[in-house]
């Protein structure tokens, strides 16, 4: 069945491979999120009034929050903010072209979550050399993969995202608590679980 797009365009939040999933989640502009199935994958979409949305902080936060809710229910390839398609036909065409890559990515991230860790140096304390590597080494042991984030401040000792098996979440959290206890001069900012934004590299374009 074609999704009615007369009143707008299709905003895509992510792609899943769980056709039986009952979402019950509202999307941006309070529009319901609908699934558009293509073979054994589905794009999660809602109606959106414009084709090229400007990046607004509140909507970007909502987008992240919606994806967080979806990720709690199923494995999802998250799309970045502002992925809008003209109509269902174009979206299906894109899905058909990227179907194989999507399935491979879904297999990679299935059963896993992303956790973010930032370690900040105290303004009056220079952490000794090697501390960052030591912390990273401990956390890498508990993750499938990790990626370095942006080094946007000289105060940042570490800024990494970790892809972690869901069943290792509490072990990872415990490790963070122990590291915090051990390194009292450092501040840890621990966030997540997030959909694995940093570990998917599928770039699909809108209109």
């Amino acid at each position: 069945m074609k999704m009615e797009t007369e009143n707008g365009y299709l905003y895509v939040y992510g792609v899943i491979n769980n056709k039986n999933l009952k979402l019950g989640i509202k999307g941006l502009k309070d529009k319901p999120i609908e699934k558009i199935d293509f073979r054994d994958i589905s794009a999660l979409t809602s109606i959106y009034p414009i084709l090229h949305p400007a990046l607004k902080e509140d909507e970007a936060m909502q987008h992240a929050d919606i994806l967080k809710k979806i990720a709690k229910k199923t494995t999802v390839i998250p799309m970045s903010f502002g992925m809008v398609f003209n109509d269902q036909e174009i979206l299906e065409m894109i899905l058909s072209k990227s179907c194989m890559a999507i399935k491979q990515t879904l297999a990679l991230i299935d059963g896993k979550i992303e956790l973010g860790v930032k370690v900040v140096q105290n303004q009056f304390y220079d952490a000794p050399n090697g501390i960052a590597l030591e912390i990273l080494g401990q956390l890498d042991k508990l993750s499938v993969k990790s990626v370095k984030g942006d080094n946007f401040s000289s105060r940042l000792l570490l800024n990494h995202s970790f892809l972690v098996e869901k069943n290792k979440f509490s072990k990872f959290s415990k490790e963070i608590a122990e590291l915090e206890e051990k390194h009292k001069n450092l501040k840890f900012i621990y966030t997540g679980p997030w959909p694995p934004y940093s570990f998917v590299n599928i770039n699909i374009k809108g209109s």
Binding site: K118, V120, D150, F152, S153, R155, L156, K187, I189
Partner: protein, 92 residues
């Protein structure tokens, strides 16, 4: 206070003794790069958030600085958009 000569030396630039126009143009370019470095402003926005999250600055301080930085970012974007096509400012 940074002395012009020190600034130039720090940038490994050797100014010709009487190339005043060249020096002025170079300093103007350095100033523009400093002032309109979008990446640097974005980094300051993120750092401001970071300092708020670790409790090093208050919510009031965070909001004030954020507002100022967002204004700076808007001005920088506007400046970059209106640059003549033959001038390029690379982010450092």
């Amino acid at each position: 206070m940074i002395i012009i000569d020190d600034l130039l030396k720090s940038l490994k630039v050797l100014a010709k003794p009487f190339d005043v126009i060249g020096t002025i143009e170079l300093l103007r370019d350095i100033a523009l790069k400093e002032k309109y470095n979008l990446k640097a402003i974005n980094n300051k926005i993120k750092e401001n958030r970071l300092l708020f999250e670790i409790g090093e600055i208050t919510e009031k301080e965070y909001n004030e600085k954020r507002k100022a930085l967002l204004e700076e970012l808007e001005k920088a974007k506007e400046f970059m958009e209106n640059l003549p096509k033959d001038i390029e400012i690379r982010e450092m």
